[in-house]
Amino acid sequence: MDDSELIELFFDRDEQAISETDKKYGGLCTTLAKNILGSTEDAQEIKNDTLLALWKSIPPHRPEVLSAFITKTARNLTLNRLRSHKAQKRGGGEYQLALDELGDIITTPESVTDSCEAGELQQIINSFVSQLDVDKQQIFLLRYYYLFSVSEIAKRTGSRQGRIKTALMRLRQALKERLESEGYL
């Protein structure tokens, strides 16, 4: 079923929208949540919460890109759950690794203004990513948005793990230079 048909099911308040969306995007939601939380049970809960959030928001919202709308919803729910359980052990290996990798480019946290608006930072990141060529965009997003492991990224892109690691290293350096030029580092 294509995305426009799925959206119409939501607008018609047809409960088949939930089962069809689960069939098409449930796996992606679960994988993304599990990459962050590390627990299959928690990931299943996030998937269910995502489907419920979709049911509540469509309509009136009509997403232009349904897959992105779903993954952003799932990602937000997952990160919020992680925040609320911050005292507990983080189970998501890939999330922690991604944090460590990005942490390497923040060399002097004291010098940065923490009051920078979240919206401004989002614009910078979006601008940075949109200026990358397609291959590098894919590698960057699979790692830092979808939080796939390096080996999974290598499989998806048909590249070797070594090349993926080198590309990520160079991308982090480029992101660092961009953030420095914008005054965020």
Partner: protein
């Protein structure tokens, strides 16, 4: 700023880009000089920003820019500055400026032979002369087998954030790498009897790069394997493992890359388990350094692992190099 803030900020990325990232990787497309109807329509509509005569020429350059992004392509203005050396012509086809950032779209063509192909690489051989401090990158975009041209995008940015305005910028190229040679395979199947007392030295000189996952190694005080001309094992003609040893809680592997400067020889060493898994550890790092003559380079890969676990893994290598390095001197100047 924290790393967490960066990860949260990724939610602001454009939906179309996020969707594209999940698509399976496409095979590299070779443009054959035809202009897509849709692209032509966009070019006519956008005639104010890019002259139609240039866009509708036989050259497939605009197609390639359009593939990057239609909006991006429309911001480019034709320059058409050429330079030839040894039968190879570089053409600065078009340029765009957006605030403190600019890009050059260039082509490289062998007008007398077939030395240029889809493996052409300029990454470390180009330079920019600008009247301002800048950062830059060069990416291969496409190769057109019908006209023999390889296309690249050179992007650069003023570090002071001021607009690029009426500035003369020179793009130069010293060499063109062609003909990737990729090799991978098992170097040593059984690591059980790895030497625990190899020859070592304190510190590494002429360090040219370090990659690490978790903690930066101290290259002044750590122990490293001693360099030598030995060849313990090899699976290609440009890379040898010259030493292996276990000390300080880690497996050390020293790989020598011949002529790495001119042919961009490089590689990666990993441990592969019998079940096909790849050993991973936050402390894995690689320290790269040159010999005094700056021709060959060494990579010491350091893998923290218990000695009793070595028997579960084999040593695996992935290596890359180029067959040819076409030296020359190409240079064009444009006023932006």
């Amino acid at each position: 700023m924290t790393a967490e803030k960066l990860l949260y900020a990724m939610n602001g990325i454009d939906d179309g880009i996020l969707k594209k990232a999940l698509e399976p990787k496409r095979a590299r497309r070779h443009y054959i000089g035809r202009i897509a109807a849709a692209a032509a329509a966009v070019m006519i509509i956008a005639a104010g920003s890019l002259p139609v005569g240039t866009a509708l020429g036989a050259d497939s350059a605009y197609d390639i820019l359009y593939e990057i992004s239609p909006a991006f392509a429309q911001t480019f203005k034709p320059v058409n500055e050429k330079c030839s050396y040894d039968g190879i012509e570089m053409c600065l086809i078009s340029a765009n400026v957006q605030g403190c950032r600019a890009s050059f779209f260039i082509s490289i063509e062998d007008t007398v032979g077939d030395r240029i192909n889809g493996t052409a690489d300029l990454d470390d051989s180009y330079y920019l002369r600008c009247p301002f401090d800048h950062s830059s990158c060069c990416t291969f975009k496409s190769y057109d087998s019908t006209n023999g041209k390889a296309y690249f995008l050179v992007s650069f940015e003023r570090l002071d954030g001021k607009d690029i305005d009426s500035d003369k910028v020179t793009l130069g190229i010293n060499g063109i790498l062609c003909g990737n040679k990729d090799t991978e395979g098992v170097l040593i199947a059984d690591l059980t009897d790895t030497d625990t007392c190899p020859e070592t030295m304190i510190g590494a000189e002429n360090v040219s790069g370090i990659s690490y996952s978790n903690k930066e190694p101290d290259t002044d005080t750590m122990r490293f394997l001693k360099t030598s001309d030995k060849q313990l094992c090899s699976i290609c003609d440009y890379a040898d493992v010259t030493a292996i040893g276990y000390f300080d809680g880690a497996l050390h592997i020293l790989t020598r890359y011949k002529d790495s400067n001119s042919c961009d020889s490089h590689g990666f060493i990993t441990l592969h388990g019998k079940d096909g898994s790849v050993y991973d550890n936050d402390g894995i790092c690689t320290v790269s350094y040159f010999t005094d003559q700056y021709t060959d380079s060494y990579d010491e890969t350091i893998i923290p692992i218990g000695y009793d676990k070595l028997g579960n893994y084999s040593l695996y290598g992935e290596f890359c190099s180029s067959e040819t390095n076409i030296k020359g001197r190409w240079q064009v100047t444009a006023k932006l």
